[in-house]
């Protein structure tokens, strides 16, 4: 069985020529640039779309990298205000995307520093949800399955799946940041380098190590 599986894998890898994985995904910085240009030029609809999109970017990045819903909500609001101010006096619309991710990353770093002294999880000691109320019907099957998970984990599991959430959590913050930016947010190597402040060569090295670690974490989860 194992030999057959390996043969299939080898065949799958070697038969396809250089399709590889697509380098650029989504609308990319070009999509943002057009929107930013229009918003800066006074187009209200574009401004509205841009502000919603910037907040979604902030929320996604914060939740994927830091894993806290409450922080993601704060980072989202922070991104809204900063984007609104920034876009009205922007000089280089093409640089907006890296500016946004850098801003969001900094906000996340501040949040992480604040959390550094806190306990890992806020756990109820009395078996309630923290409000003192208990469900008289007892725990539901979902409750049983999700017992021990924090609300943050439940939210992430519903969104990206428990397996990937656990595998991402196994990475160091630096590796997780590169994976999220490159693989999940679709930034180019150059953009990731600009956001994280490391060289493109280091981004590639870090990304490779993170991919290998992520693969191992997925295999063991």
């Amino acid at each position: 069985v194992t030999r057959a599986r390996i043969s299939r894998t080898v065949a799958a890898v070697t038969k396809s020529p250089d399709v590889h994985l697509s380098k650029e995904r989504g609308s990319g910085s070009a999509g943002y640039e057009d929107l930013v240009r229009k918003a800066a030029g006074g187009d209200d609809a574009s401004m509205e779309t841009l502000l919603v999109r910037a907040q979604e970017t902030a929320y996604r990045f914060s939740l994927l990298v830091c894993g806290h819903v409450e922080d993601a909500e704060d980072v989202m609001q922070d991104a809204l205000l900063k984007t609104y101010r920034h876009v009205r006096r922007i000089r280089k619309p093409g640089a907006f995307r890296t500016w946004l991710y850098s801003t969001v990353r900094n906000a996340c770093l501040m949040k992480r520093r604040r959390r550094a002294g806190e306990p890992k999880q806020l756990l109820s000691l009395d078996g309630t949800d923290g409000t003192g109320r208990e469900d008289p019907r007892g725990p539901s099957p979902v409750d049983m399955e999700d017992a021990g998970k924090t609300p943050d984990e439940l939210m992430m599991d519903a969104w990206i799946g428990a397996r990937l959430r656990r595998a991402l959590a196994a990475l160091s913050p630096a590796h997780r940041t590169v994976v999220v930016l490159r693989e999940m947010e679709g930034l180019s190597t150059r953009e990731v380098a600009a956001v994280t402040g490391i060289s493109e060569a280091n981004v590639k090295t870090r990304l490779h190590r993170a991919r290998v670690q992520l693969k191992r974490a997925l295999e063991t989860s």
Partner: protein, 86 residues
């Protein structure tokens, strides 16, 4: 995988570049040839490709509607306040 094997070690170092399409045609051919002869590296390559694919698939998932509605409400509120200040 036998990591004492220099070719396998070299393959491991180039595998991400191969996946990202950063290698030239000759290097790509080398990687493919090596994978034909080395099931361990072929498996590694396939598993890494699956890992990256899983991330990209998850990255394309929209946020829950409640979050998106929250974002829209924030924008409406901000623009309303900005309008009043004008």
């Amino acid at each position: 995988m036998n990591h004492d094997d220099a070719t396998c070690r070299e393959m491991l170092e180039r595998i991400s570049a191969y996946l990202d399409g950063d290698l030239d045609e000759r290097s790509c051919r080398d990687v493919r040839r090596h994978c034909r002869d080395c099931p361990a590296c072929a498996t590694l390559l396939a598993n890494l490709e699956r890992t990256v694919g899983l991330c990209r698939e998850a990255g394309a998932k929209p946020l829950p509607e409640s979050v998106r509605e929250q974002a829209r409400a924030h924008v409406r509120d901000l623009l309303r306040r900005a309008e009043r200040r004008r």
